[in-house]
Amino acid sequence: MNSPSAQFVTSRRIGVYDPIHQIGMWGENFKSNSNLNASASLIVEDVKLDSQSQDASHGTEGPSNQYDQEATKPTDKVQRRLAQNREAARKSRLRKKAYVQQLETSRLKLIQLEQELERARQQGLYIGGGLDAGHLGFSGTVNSGITTFEMEYGHWMEEQNRQICDLRNALNAHITDIELRMLVESGMNHYFELFRMKATATKADVFYMMSGMWKTSAERFFLWIGGVRPSQLLKVLGPQLNPMTKQQSLDVLNLEHSCQQAEDALSQGMERLQQTLADTVAAGQLSEGSCNRQMTNAMEKLEALRTFVGQADHVRKETLQQMLHILTIRQAARGLLALGEYFQRLRALSSLWATRPREPA
């Protein structure tokens, strides 16, 4: 967007009617919109149009000057001014036309984007988080770490759906344990991949992670420190594992117990974090740019939030890994399928909810 401005400057003519100023009027809205590159080049052409037509008008002034030689000098100036007026008005109309055309194009593009968004939402994939003010930084710039995460999550979800299908088919087809093991390991690695993605995204914007913005609405209802409750994972897996040996039942029970304790401890830590942050904010005179101690304290608290999200993901990961150790391959496969289908249904629920018939206002 910068080069057109440079060209404005070089072709600038100092005259009574300043075409640059008028371009500015039509171009005001373009500054914040990086998509309208087409419009920028159109403006440049308008400027070139300016230079050419001004030369032309200078040319036509010649003969009229000669014609008006006997006329009084004020008339001469008036004629010239009128001609420039007409010229400026004509150019202004042209620019207005161009501007309106660009508005129309943008409007169409916006409608198209909204349609794509709606389609994606209905497929249960929430991409809308990126447009939320929450993840635009204070300067209004889009957080590329989050944009990357959302894009990668889209791919992750596609792969997840594929894997769930494969698992379902495999279990129905009664394949060998060796082949099943490969599917289970892929499934587990796929979840670990998600945790890696989340770790990177947490560095970019911890509040985005805490709000679960990449998830569908029903998934967000169950949000706990940037994801699923580890205990919830076990509750979904549990019924799928029967029949179990005595030792397995005991191990699963112990894991459920430990998991709950870990979850409770982290929950209490989070509550404390909230409380101390609230106290810090209430106590001091926090103002943007202020470097007083309370502001520093508050900022440290927010840093601690990142640790909690990381630790919550660590507990999720360890819980899944422990389950894998306890179970046979077939049980693990059934468990992973159940887990995958559970979240698919939750996402489907979100779509259903989003498209339910609204009550009349």
């Binding site: 191990d251 112990n254 894991l255 430990s258 998991c259 304790q261 870990a262 409770d264 401890a265 982290l266 209490q268 830590g269 989070m270 404390r272 974090l273 101390t276 304290n297 440290e300 608290k301 601690a304 640790t307 909690f308 630790q311 660590h314 507990v315 360890e318 819980t319 422990q322």
Partner: protein
């Protein structure tokens, strides 16, 4: 560091913490839930806190706090404690120190 060595031999379960650290609080809560009473040393309230912090980092801790010692041996930070507990290995370690 002498002070660290002395402190960790004083009691079976020693947790180095900072009063402002909420993750330390979470770990302490977990231990209490497991039926033990760890000795909690708030290094931000210790005049030698800086030295202790450096010593803990030298022992291999990524973050100085929380640092958990059981029976004089460094167990680790939150990550290690959580992993051990989910594996079921933490409770046996704490058994000798449980309050009756």
């Amino acid at each position: 560091m002498d002070k660290v060595t002395r402190l960790v031999s004083e009691k079976g379960i020693v947790i180095f913490s900072k009063s402002s650290c909420c993750m330390c609080y979470a770990v302490i809560i977990l231990f209490k839930e497991l039926g033990v009473k760890p000795l909690v040393h708030e290094i931000d309230e210790d005049p030698e806190g800086r030295e202790i912090e450096k010593a803990l980092m030298r022992l291999g801790c990524n973050a100085p706090v929380p640092a958990v010692f059981i029976g004089g041996t460094l167990v680790g930070s939150t990550n290690e404690v959580m992993s051990l507990h989910l594996k079921g290995s933490l409770t046996p370690l704490l058994q000798p120190y449980k309050s009756p």
